[in-house]
Each structure stands twice: as structure tokens, then as C-alpha cells.
């Protein structure tokens, strides 16, 4: 006697074990040591495909149709071979685009369409409800049956049980609770649930072991092996026909469609998409799954026929539902433990399905159905809330509860009308509608959003019409005439024989029509409509995913502030996670903290991807758009701009450099030019001045000579006068030429210097003697003050004479006659000898004091006082004194006379510091 509470206790124990495994796996994942990053665990998790339908229903179908139960497992096996091609592509696309669900995938492919995402979600939820109800039915029935142990009594289908007394209701509630515990503890950016994956991998093992145990028991304990079992079956008239597989064309068509159906189901059931794509850790795990999963399918099906036949043989009158053989056979043989194990196996299969399916569905409902609507609704003012992660989790929890409850209500309303297998196939047909849209989307760039919407809607409507409504009609929720005569009496629209297609079983019929409409409208509308640039870039991204190494997606042209982006992300992921993520971004860019991040297009895109992980791609786009102003560009546009920009930047850098170099060169040139012009000018000045100075006396000489020559009868007085001028000018000319040559020689360093050791006093005396006549002529007195202690110098005598004579001549020139007084003095100053020639003449104004040492400058440009001399004298003196490292200067005040002084070093070359100022 197995009491109810024992069963319940065992169930709870098992569920808690599952939960513990999930918890452990999640913790290991948080520590970075993932338990599930393992191809075997991945492949086992894919076996969530086998639900209570497999556990119980296969046997049921086999008992009715022989190996007609196989197509449902043939399909996935065949598909597994093709996985390496199409599933890998889907996985790659999903990773690159951070896809979080099936609805997200479809929406992302067709231009991030929120409408499409919503449609997929609705179809998925409505389509899976029958399937969920199937699991609930299985669990509650198996519980009821087991509770009768050792009696075997089928549950009373006619009884209508009040909800609160309905086991199934409590089962639903418990399942919902566990699902919430499994899947909504926290929000993960990538929507991965490591714990859940670990738990269902474990339960895949449990259900396999349970089934194998029953199978082994039936084959080898109840009978004497397979040979004995089949021999007995063949001899039984009721069973024999089941052994032959095919009967007629309809049978082939059936097989074909069922296989196709299950091939699509293994891809597009939300739970399968979740575990095979979203939860996938590494593409390469597929390699293992490709052979391990078919192996599992084989293992779990290998004993189906034996159990079916064993049951038929054991319970010949049909009093026991074939669906329950897995449980009732051990019960009939008094194997309590095995029966309990079988129950746990069935429970395991059912809970695995419900948990994964509801989590996948609730994610879609939250991200792709509820959030887009909430975000757009201004009343809720979600944009003002700072932390929406709790809201997201709550939405998902409610979604789980509602979905499970809806499954329960479907079970109450329509579930009893069909055997388990048929219910399951209805769901398969629903998710098969996603096939064209997804497969077309990843291989055909031309598929448009409009096409997808049209195909999906049409397929879904046909599905609902041919499968869902009849189920309700059979349960008396719709009038029976609906089925037999079509709506409003339109025979052609009979749900089970649409447009007169008869003779097929319901599923095949439904599949043919729904696929026809789906694919037909998908292709037709796609060909007739055009894609927006956003759609086109997404299409390219999806179809060409293997040939692209990076993920440019559509780039944002605009920018936003990094803190704003972080806040936005934080609202949905929670502030800590957002902070972590942004710190990671900063590290990637080589910055020390997120505060240094710039809100450039790259960051905007990274933020968008983060958000997409939490709320789905289309909502993320809306949110980001609210923070960034600009519209996204198409890829080509962006590439062109980037190309141009980078070229322009490079070019302008070059230009900048060149222009800087040019400027520097120009400046140099300008300076050099100025210098040259100056020198040139000076040279020109000198030359023109010399030439002028030379030509002037020449002009008089020539002119007067010609006059004298041409006018022989000129009177004597004039003749003498003219000749005198000629003579004087000739002298002047000679002097000038000599001086110019002299200066030129000295300046060019080609002067001849004959230095001897001499006594300065002697030179001064000689100079005075040479100029005595000048002094006498103007009656100017000259005095000397020559110190005795000045030693002898080594100088050029003639040049020194030249200087002295020049200075003395000047002194005479600028002194008044009679009153003029000139004093010559010689002194020793440290290591220098200094000579002064002082006069009390007219003096020199300050501005002229510098100029007089310049070439050709002469003091006194007045009309009446054109000085004699060439203007070169002082210039030459300076050159001479300079040559001997001395200095020549003047001190003077207008009206107070002038003193010309020069110094000469006494021994060798004196240092400049010693020279008196």
C-alpha cells in the first residue's frame, strides 16, 4: 500500500534535489567555475525534449500504431545531423547579437521589430499551452493511479472535479512555484540560467534511467527477453498488425509530415531554443550533441515497443490506458520501488519541460510583450524610475504563474478530449510556424519584415482554425455543427477538411494548410515589399554571420553622456551590475575608471547590447534612442563616412605638418632676405656714394679742362682760376682714391701692416710736425702733455701717423681760427696707453657722435660749411685702432669742443675687461 503522502514526500524530495543541484551550479557559475561548460551536460540538457509525452505517451502511441510513434524521434535524430549547419549558425548569430529568446531572434532579424516579437510571443504562449496541460495531466494522472496501489484504476474522466480538489491544480501551483525559484532569482544580462541547465541535465539522466529500468524489467523479468516478447506479441491477434509499419499512402504521408514536424519542433520549441541556443556556452559543444543526442533518443526509445507489447499482453482487455503502461506494469507486478521510480521518472520528465518552457515563455512575455507596451505608455512614467530590475523580475514571475495556470485551464477545458500524443502534436504544429520565418531569415537576405508578419500570422490563423478550435469544439465549447458543416454552413471551410482536402489525419491536414499559407505569404509578400535600411543591415548580419568577424551592427551616429547611459542600464540591470559592466568597458579602453568613459558611438552600442540582454533588442533600442538623439545609419553609409573621415584626418595632419615647416622656412627666408637687402643696400650705398664722391671732382676737372681747351681766348684771370680748381680737384680726387683703396684693403684684411717697436711720443711729435702748417694757418695753439712712463709699443708706424694726422686735422678743422686751442695728451692707464686730442671747437652733437665714424659721414651739411675731406678719415682711423685691439671714441658737447681719444694695449692683446671705458 503506497500512501499518498509517501508519493508526495518522494516527489518533494526529488524536486528539492533538483533545486539543490541548480543552486550549486549557479553558485559555481558565479565563482566563474561553471559546471555546465561541458559538451556532455549540454547534450543531456537537450534531452528536455523528452517529456512526460515521451515517458508515457510513446508507449501509448506504440500500443495503438506500432512503430508509428517513431517519427517524433526520427525527426530530431535527422535534425541533429543538420545541426552543425543551421543550429550553429543560429547560435553564432544569437551570440553576436546577444539574442535572449526566440521572439528576440525573429524580431532582430527583421529590423528589430517589436510587433514581430510580440506576435511570436503570443503564438508561442498559445501554442505551448496544450503541451503544458499535457504535462499536468500526466503528473496528476500518474499520481492518482499510483495512489491506488496496489489496485490499478484509471482516473475517472467523466468526473468533473472542483478546482480545489483537483490534484492537477496543486501540481500546477507547485510547478509554478518551483519554476519561479529556478528562473527568477536574479536578472542575467545574457538570460542564461546555469542552475536550470544543470538541473535538467540531471533529470534527463533520471528519466532515462527510470525508463530503462522499467524496460529492462518488462523485457527480462516479465518475459524472457526480446525474442520471447515478440514471439508472444506476434501470436496475439490484437498486436500482430502493429508490427507492420506502413499501410498505404496516407501512412507514408503521415510519417513524412510527422518527421518534418518534429524536426521543426526540436529547433523551435521555446524550451529547445532556450537550451540549445541561449544556454549554449560554446559552439563546439554541438559536435558532441550531434551524436550524443541521437544516442539518447535511441536509448529512451529502445524499450518503447517492448513495454507497449508487454502491456498489451498483460492487460488484454484494454482496461488499462496504454499511456500508463510504464507505471502500471511495475504496479501490476508488485514492484513498489520500481513503480515509484517510474513515477519519479515521469515527474522528472514533466517538471523539466514545464520549468524550462515556462522560463523561456516568461522571458519572451516580459521582454517582447509587456515591456515594450509599458515603456511606450506614458502614464506609468517608467523613465523616471531608477531601478527597474525588480519590476522585470516581478513581471516574469507573474508571467510564469499565469502561463502555468492557463495551461491548467486548457487542461480542464480541452485536455480530456485527446490522448497525450495528439495534444503534443498540436503544440508542435504551432511552433512549426516559426520554421519558415527563422530558417528563411538566416539564409535569405531578401526576406522582409512584412513577409514575416504575413506568413507568421497566416500560419498561426490556419493552425488555430484547424487544430485549436476543433479541440474546443470537441469539448463542447463550440457547437458541433462547426466541425461537421463548417462555420455558418460553409462546407469548404470545414476546419478538419479545409477546401475539401480530406482523408488525412488532423495533424497532417493542419500542417499542409498552415505551411502552405505561411510559406506562400512569407515568400510572396517578401518579394513584393522592400526592406528598410535597418532591416537590410540586420538581414546581412544574420545571413553573413560566419563571414564577419566583428559585429558592427548599425552604428549610432549620435552620442550620449556616459553617466546617463550607465544610469539607464542600471535601471534595468541594477546599479551594481551596471557599474561592473561600465568599469569593464573602461578597462577595455585602457581607462582607469568608468568616469573617464566618453559617450561615443561605441559606448552607446555596448550599452544597447547590455540592455538588450535584459529587456530584448527592440525595447533596448527604444530606450537608447531616448538618450541619444540621432538616428542610426546604415552600414555602408557609416563605412563611407569613417573612411572619408580617416582619410581627411590623415591628410590634414600631413598638411598641418607641412604648413608648419613651410612657415618656419618662410620666416628664415624672410630674415635672410632682410639681412641681404640691408647688406645690399649698404653695399650699394657705399658704392654709389664712392662713385658719387669720385665723379664729383672728376666732373669739375673734365668740364673746366674742356672749357679751357675750347676757349683759348678766355681772359687770364679766369684761366688761372679755372686751372687752380682743376689742380685742387685732382688732388682731392687722388686723396679720395687713396683713402677708398686704403679702407678697402684694411677692411678686407689685405692691408699691409709693418709693425715695429716704437715710442708713441715720437709718433705724436712727428704728427704734430706734419700738421704744423694747418695749425699755423688758422693760428691755433697746440699744447702737449706726454707722460714719460709709457713703454714702447709694437704698432705700425705709418698707420699710427695716419691716425694722429687725421685727428689733428679734424681738430684744426673744427676749431675757430685764433681762438682755437688743441691739447694732445698721452697717458698710461693700467695695461693701456691712451692718447687724447682735445679741441675747443664747435663740438659735435650727440646724434652725430656715432655717425662720424661711419663712412662718408661728415659733420656739417650746411650750405656754407661744406667741410673738406672725404668723410672717410675717421672710418679708417677706427679700422686701424681696431686692428691693434684698441678703441677709438669721442666725447663732445656742441659749443664746448670735442675730445677724440684712443687706446692701445701695452703688451700683447689686452683683455676687454681691462680696457677703460
Amino acid at each position: 500500500m503506497l500512501q499518498g503522502w509517501v508519493i508526495v514526500a518522494a516527489s518533494f524530495a526529488y524536486l528539492c534535489l533538483l533545486f539543490a543541484i541548480a543552486f550549486y551550479a549557479d553558485r559555481r557559475a558565479d565563482q566563474g567555475r561553471s559546471v555546465i561548460a561541458n559538451p556532455y551536460i549540454y547534450s543531456l540538457s537537450l534531452a528536455v525534449y523528452a517529456t512526460a509525452w515521451t515517458f508515457y505517451g510513446s508507449v501509448g502511441r506504440a500500443a495503438n500504431d506500432g512503430i508509428g510513434f517513431l517519427p517524433i524521434y526520427l525527426g530530431p535524430t535527422l535534425m541533429a545531423v543538420l545541426w552543425w549547419l543551421c543550429l550553429r549558425k543560429i547560435i553564432r548569430i544569437s551570440k553576436v547579437n546577444r539574442i535572449t529568446s526566440l521572439a528576440d531572434f525573429v524580431a532582430a532579424r527583421y529590423g528589430k521589430s517589436a510587433l514581430l516579437a510580440g506576435l511570436v510571443t503570443v503564438i508561442a504562449v498559445l501554442g505551448i499551452l496544450p503541451y503544458i496541460s499535457l504535462q499536468l495531466k500526466a503528473i496528476s494522472n500518474s499520481f492518482t493511479i499510483l495512489a491506488q496501489y496496489p489496485d490499478i484504476e484509471m482516473p475517472d474522466k467523466s468526473r468533473s472535479v472542483a478546482i480545489l480538489q483537483d490534484t492537477a491544480f496543486y501540481v500546477a501551483g507547485i510547478l509554478a512555484g518551483f519554476t519561479i525559484a529556478f528562473g527568477t532569482r536574479e536578472l542575467d544580462v545574457s538570460e542564461r540560467h546555469e542552475g536550470m541547465v544543470a538541473a535538467i541535465a540531471f533529470e534527463s539522466l533520471v528519466k532515462l534511467l527510470a525508463f530503462l529500468a522499467v524496460g529492462v524489467f518488462v523485457t527480462f523479468a516479465m518475459f524472457d527477453g526480446l525474442g520471447d516478447l515478440f514471439a508472444q506479441a506476434r501470436s496475439d491477434s490484437g498486436i500482430a498488425p502493429l508490427i507492420t509499419p506502413f499501410e498505404g499512402v496516407a501512412s507514408y504521408a503521415n510519417w513524412a509530415w510527422l518527421t518534418v514536424l518534429s524536426m521543426l519542433a526540436i529547433m523551435f520549441l521555446p524550451r529547445q531554443f532556450q537550451v540549445s541556443v541561449i544556454e549554449n556556452v560554446d559552439e563546439k559543444h554541438l559536435r558532441t550533441a550531434v551524436w550524443l543526442f541521437p544516442l539518447y533518443m535511441l536509448a529512451i526509445n529502445v524499450f518503447v515497443i517492448p513495454i507497449a507489447f508487454g502491456g498489451l499482453l498483460r492487460f488484454p482487455q484494454g482496461g488499462v490506458d496504454a499511456d500508463t503502461f510504464v507505471l502500471t506494469l511495475p504496479m501490476a507486478e508488485q514492484q513498489t520501488g520500481l513503480a515509484l521510480l517510474a513515477f519519479i521518472g515521469g515527474l522528472s520528465a514533466a517538471t523539466g519541460m514545464v520549468i524550462v518552457e515556462t522560463i523561456a515563455l516568461s522571458t519572451m512575455v516580459c521582454n517582447d510583450l509587456v515591456m515594450p507596451v509599458l515603456l511606450r505608455s506614458r502614464r506609468l512614467r517608467l523613465s523616471e524610475r531608477t531601478d527597474l530590475s525588480n519590476l522585470l523580475l516581478d513581471i516574469r514571475r507573474w508571467a510564469i504563474v499565469i502561463i502555468v495556470m492557463l495551461g491548467y485551464f486548457y487542461f480542464r477545458l480541452a485536455g480530456e478530449a485527446y490522448a497525450l500524443v495528439s495534444i503534443g502534436l498540436i503544440s508542435f504544429a504551432a511552433v512549426a510556424q516559426f520554421g519558415p520565418v527563422v530558417l528563411g531569415g538566416i539564409y535569405w537576405k531578401g526576406a522582409t519584415r512584412a513577409g514575416a508578419l504575413a506568413g507568421l500570422s497566416a500560419g498561426f490563423l490556419v493552425w488555430a482554425y484547424t487544430l485549436l478550435l476543433p479541440a474546443f469544439a470537441r469539448s463542447d465549447w463550440l457547437p458541433a455543427e462547426f466541425l461537421s458543416h463548417g462555420p455558418f454552413g460553409l462546407e469548404l471551410l470545414k476546419p478538419l477538411e479545409l477546401f475539401g482536402l480530406s482523408g488525412l489525419d488532423q495533424i497532417t491536414h493542419a500542417m499542409i494548410w498552415s505551411m502552405l499559407f505561411n510559406i506562400g505569404l512569407y515568400i510572396g509578400v517578401s518579394l513584393l515589399t522592400r526592406q528598410s535600411p535597418g532591416e537590410h543591415s540586420q538581414a546581412t548580419l544574420f545571413v553573413d554571420v560566419f563571414s564577419r568577424t566583428r559585429d558592427p551592427s548599425t552604428l549610432w551616429r549620435g552620442t550620449a553622456s556616459a553617466p546617463e547611459l550607465q544610469r539607464l542600464v542600471g535601471r534595468f540591470l541594477g546599479p551594481e551590475r551596471a557599474g561592473e559592466a561600465f568599469a569593464a568597458f573602461a578597462r577595455e579602453r585602457g581607462l582607469t575608471s568608468a568616469a573617464e568613459l566618453e559617450g561615443d558611438a561605441e559606448l552607446v552600442q555596448s550599452a544597447e547590447r547590455l540592455l538588450a540582454g535584459a529587456v530584448g533588442a527592440s525595447s533596448a533600442r527604444v530606450l537608447i534612442a531616448s538618450v541619444v538623439e540621432e538616428e542610426p545609419l546604415g552600414i555602408e553609409e557609416v563605412m563611407n563616412i569613417l573612411d572619408e573621415t580617416s582619410q581627411v584626418i590623415a591628410y590634414s595632419h600631413q598638411l598641418e605638418e607641412k604648413s608648419r615647416e613651410l612657415e618656419a622656412a618662410t620666416n628664415e627666408l624672410r630674415a635672410a632676405n632682410e639681412r641681404l637687402t640691408e647688406l645690399d643696400r649698404l653695399k650699394d650705398d657705399f658704392i654709389s656714394t664712392v662713385s658719387h664722391e669720385l665723379r664729383t671732382p672728376l666732373t669739375s676737372i673734365r668740364a673746366l679742362s674742356e672749357i679751357l681747351h675750347d676757349n683759348p681766348d678766355i681772359d687770364r684771370e679766369e684761366r688761372v682760376r679755372f686751372l687752380a680748381i682743376v689742380i685742387k680737384e685732382s688732388e682731392r680726387l687722388t686723396r679720395l682714391i687713396n683713402q677708398v683703396l686704403d679702407l678697402a684693403k684694411i677692411e678686407s684684411g689685405k692691408g699691409e701692416w709693418h709693425t715695429t717697436e716704437l715710442d708713441l711720443r715720437e709718433v705724436i711729435d712727428d704728427a704734430l710736425a706734419a700738421t704744423s702748417r694747418l695749425f699755423e694757418e688758422k693760428r691755433i695753439t697746440v699744447t702737449t702733455d706726454l707722460a714719460a712712463d709709457v713703454p714702447r709699443l709694437v704698432v705700425d708706424r705709418d698707420r699710427l701717423m695716419q691716425v694722429m694726422v687725421n685727428l689733428l686735422s679734424n681738430a684744426v678743422k673744427f676749431s675757430e681760427p685764433d681762438k682755437g686751442r688743441v691739447q694732445v695728451s698721452l697717458q698710461r692707464r693700467g695695461s693701456w696707453a691712451q692718447v687724447d686730442v682735445a679741441d675747443n671747437g664747435i663740438g659735435i652733437s650727440p646724434e652725430h657722435q656715432h655717425a662720424i665714424f661711419d663712412k662718408f659721414r661728415q659733420v656739417g651739411d650746411t650750405l656754407t660749411d661744406k667741410p673738406q675731406g672725404t668723410g672717410l678719415g675717421l672710418a679708417i682711423c677706427r679700422q686701424i685702432i681696431d686692428h691693434f685691439d684698441g678703441k677709438l671714441w669721442v666725447r663732445s658737447r656742441p659749443g664746448a669742443g670735442s675730445t677724440f681719444s684712443f687706446t692701445l694695449p701695452l703688451e700683447g692683446r689686452a683683455s676687454a675687461l681691462d680696457a677703460p671705458a
Partner: protein, 122 residues
């Protein structure tokens, strides 16, 4: 009536030679020794020809020429520029400023008288 000629040069020896030459040639000769005096003399005497040295104190020959050519009364007056600087740019400058002839020093006496005669239309 004898044509009037004004000679302007800062070298008195040149003035002497030119004065003799042009007086011998039959002209009424006046002299000035700097630019300012030259302008005053032009105003006062209204010569028919101006013999103008370039290198003059106070105002050089070019300036004088420019000033004279600006005033319409002296349009008819002929201007001959004298200079020791023989560079072609100087010549061009002089001619551009309105000089009728340009003579470089040292000049040939016969050529000079010839030029004066030609300009005064004899």
C-alpha cells in the same frame, strides 16, 4: 630774348663750369645750390630750362622735379637732370618723374650744351 636757364648743384666748382658754358652759349644763367633754393628760384625766375643735380641738400633733385611737375605753371619748362649716379634705375626714375633729359657726370661740355640747345628748340 635770351632763354633763361637755372643751374642747381651743390658743388660750387660745377656751378662755375656750367655757368661759364651756358653763358657762353648765350643764355641768361641763374644758379642755386640746394633743393629749396631751387624751387624758390623757379618761382621767381621762371626759367625755360632747369639743369638739376640729383644729390642736393635739403631737397634732392627728384623731389624738386616731382614738385615742379605737379604744378601746371612749370609744364612748359624743360628739366635736365644731372647726377653722378649712373644706374639705369635712377635714369628711369628721373624720366618717369617728368625729366626731359638726363645727364651723367662727368659730362662732356659740348654734349651738354647741345642737349640744352635742342631742348630749347634751336
Amino acid at each position: 630774348m635770351a632763354k633763361r636757364v637755372l643751374i642747381v648743384d651743390d658743388d660750387p666748382n660745377i656751378l662755375i663750369s656750367l655757368e661759364f658754358l651756358l653763358a657762353k652759349a648765350g643764355y641768361e644763367v641763374h644758379t642755386a645750390a640746394d633743393g629749396k633754393a631751387a624751387l624758390e628760384a623757379v618761382q621767381r625766375i621762371r626759367p625755360d630750362l632747369l639743369l638739376l643735380d640729383v644729390m642736393l641738400p635739403v631737397k634732392n633733385g627728384f623731389e624738386v622735379c616731382q614738385t615742379l611737375r605737379g604744378a601746371s605753371e612749370s609744364d612748359a619748362m624743360k628739366v635736365v637732370m644731372l647726377t653722378a649716379k649712373g644706374r639705369s634705375t635712377e635714369v628711369a626714375k628721373g624720366l618717369a618723374l617728368g625729366a626731359d633729359a638726363y645727364v651723367t657726370k662727368p659730362f662732356g661740355t659740348r654734349d651738354l650744351v647741345e642737349t640744352v640747345r635742342r631742348l630749347l628748340g634751336e
